[in-house]
Symmetry: C2
Subunit: 148 residues, 2 copies
């Protein structure tokens, strides 16, 4: 992956609807060459998918929280993964080092729904406690820096 690939990635992160001809111009390639580069980036899995960024508030998810989950069993297995995936409020789930075992990012309509989510998390096998950090304001959420 050279600098041109990185430029293309950065550009597509900003607007993936940009025509290949325009992308090519911006990186000093023909449209066909830019297209071929992007095709390979997708093929190699560098680009995982093309998606739309949806405003959470507009779909009724007003509350964001991070929940640190403590457990008395190893939570790094596929069962925990699947159990967390099944919870619609959980947007991200990570196994972490430190006091907690798992850190999840949770989005809910309001505090009542957040409470529902927390109850479900509590009910997972091995969970002994949770610590919740409620977000008051999100400054920004942006794509991975590609530093081209």
């Amino acid at each position: 992956m050279d600098i041109v690939d990185r430029l293309l990635l950065a550009r597509l992160q900003v607007d993936a609807t940009t025509p290949y001809a325009t992308l090519g111009e911006e990186v000093g390639l023909s449209g066909a060459a830019a297209h071929e580069r992007v095709r390979k980036l997708r093929e190699r899995g560098v680009i995982r998918r093309t998606t739309v960024d949806v405003d959470p508030g507009a779909v009724g998810k007003a509350v964001l929280a991070f929940v640190m989950i403590e457990a008395n069993t190893w939570m790094g297995g596929p069962e925990t993964n699947a159990a967390l995936r099944a919870l619609p409020w959980v947007e991200e789930a990570h196994i972490v080092a430190g006091g907690a075992s798992v850190l999840v990012k949770v989005r809910a309509a309001g505090t009542a729904e957040l409470q529902d989510a927390l109850r479900e998390i509590f009910d997972l096998d091995g969970v002994t406690g949770t610590q919740t950090i409620v977000v008051l304001e999100t400054f920004f959420e942006r794509p991975v820096a590609v530093d081209a």
Copy 2:
């Protein structure tokens, strides 16, 4: 926003390269009508942008961490926002309730670069301390649930 809009959003989150004709079929509309729906969702800001999801590992960001920042001044202002935005490692920044003032999601090439990021965070005005949670494994990171 009715159920059709939500179906379209959910479908576009999975693959934003899907032709309007196909989207229309899947939600029971013509291609033109599906296109008009999506156009309005963009116009209203429900769809913020069309983007590509880049594999962080493929662009050399192997380490993920969450950093809770404690401060002795109010960090909710635009100066803090701008200062955090200027740090390339910071992927998300949130003002939070609880012991910490700010919670940031940081991605770095390795532990050395993570240390650089932490130093820069420490140097921000008002910061009195940080607590870092290092991610060992990411189960998943997915788009906002649209529950259609």
